[in-house]
Subunit: 267 residues, 2 copies
DNA sequence: ACATGTGAAGTCTTTCACAGCC
DNA sequence: GGCTGTGAAAGACTTCACATGT
């Protein structure tokens, strides 16, 4: 709707694949550590190990940036730090606002990794008048009435949302209207934003659910390949929780993709 | 090295692609919202919109779980909630320990989304004796000396690391040795774990750097396609930060992948 | 001799488009 | 008519393996 371009190639940047971009910070961190230990050069092998990836991937990633290594030798640590920093845009500093100063917002405000790489907490914003003026991590909280003014005056383009889910979308809308074009969302909601605005989300609950999935599989593997063993033992409530399946279940119609999911459901 | 199997198919589970698994929690959240509003059925189109994905992807994802929809109608909300919950292993409850009760750890302990889906904070653990016994989010902090005992007694298999980076690896090692097989890591370090242990990481700084990358690109696009315009304007400091390039830079040898990166570096 | 840089092959993921069923 | 379920095509990402340069 509205937007002209029919599904442009997603967030694909001047030839650098998104997956590569997502790893650059990892490399940068490993390189920074080497730099602090005054290590002059690294091989792709060593650096890859430090970053937790394999060396072929690392070399391919770097190849998108240019030819910054020396054959037979490796990469100059300082030089690479600079190139990656520049590529990521960390040679300039980015003012960031955090909206929603609850437990999480406060923790984020105090997070050291923020300042370490070109990010500066320009303002903390909360809707609770009782919070206004209270310093959190050394920065006084401002009231959300002033959100637009703050964004514009400081030229903020990155916003962090740490509010309850219920208000995340409206906060998002206001941020975007005020000029923010990148959002890091900690609220467990899907945000919708206009074209040209980037959203990344961090969701604890989702991460745990993914872990639980794999955890369950491990448990299942130990004994037989049997899934869904107990789960609904208290027949009463479990049965109540499970609807009678979409309209007149015909005997064996319900099957798993491999055809052997032990149909755990009220027949 | 050491591990027998030569690169097994990564974390690939009984036919369900990892990318799909990562989206199931999203669908589940959207479905739960519908369920609370007593909506009986949804089409793939509607549900996809609510989850922020496109409908073809959603249908493909669901097809890995089985045939849970009804053609011409859609999906039964309650039934799908149940099926996805079961697939994710959320019909059982998972005791979780959080190690490192600083600002972040405390925020995580108080996070509502935890309890909402089968996850139960079994214990909060911190190395600081001053913290021991202090209740955080209603749960008394225990000392890390007792880590092994706690894990074993409660049968904990999921651990959350919210410690400083410096001690994350040793905490991780102890968790794993005590029987934890899934770790959610908030410390900005690469954790190495034995085969069979899953690690997921959440790193604020990395997310911001990725946003900064795209943000920079947007800024560059506005004016000409010229990247790296200012950035190193204050020539003095910028130049000092850049090493003389790996050994005798021969004039035009340094090039970007497309051959047109305006080499922003001291010649 | 050694380690980068990269075509080519392989694998995973997304999207298309339509057969099949309600 | 409408919507699911899915082969097949397209695309993105990873891995291989070796030519290339020092």
């Amino acid at each position: 709707m509205a937007t002209g371009r029919t599904h442009r190639p997603a967030t694909r940047s001047r030839g650098i694949p998104e997956a590569t971009v997502a790893r650059l910070p990892l490399y940068l961190r490993a390189l920074t550590a080497l730099s602090e230990r005054s290590v002059p050069t690294v091989s792709s092998e060593e650096l890859a190990a430090a970053a937790g990836v394999n060396s072929a991937k690392l070399r391919k990633d770097f190849s998108y940036l240019g030819s910054y290594g020396t054959r037979g030798v490796g990469y100059d640590v300082e030089y690479l730090v600079y190139q990656i920093s520049r590529e990521l845009g960390l040679t300039q500093d980015w003012p960031v606002v955090i909206v929603g100063i609850g437990n999480l917002g406060a923790a984020l405000a105090g997070y050291g990794g923020f300042a370490s790489r070109g990010f500066r907490v320009a303002a903390l914003i909360d809707a609770d008048p009782a919070m206004t003026g209270k310093p959190v991590a050394g920065i006084p909280v401002q009231h959300s009435d002033d959100l637009e003014k703050i964004i514009e005056e400081d030229g903020v383009s990155i916003g962090v949302i740490a509010t309850p889910a219920g208000v995340a979308q409206q906060v998002c809308d206001r941020l975007v209207a005020a000029g923010v074009t990148s959002i890091l969302n900690f609220a467990p909601t899907v945000l919708s934003v206009p074209d040209g605005v980037d959203v990344r989300k961090v969701d604890l609950s989702i991460e745990l659910q993914i872990l639980a999935f794999h955890e369950q599989r491990k448990a299942g593997e130990e004994s037989g390949a049997d899934t869904g063993a107990d789960t609904g033992s208290e027949a009463g409530s479990a049965a109540a929780a499970v609807p009678p399946a979409p309209r007149g279940a015909t005997g064996g119609s319900r099957k798993g993709p491999d055809g052997d999911v032990p149909a755990v459901m009220p027949a």
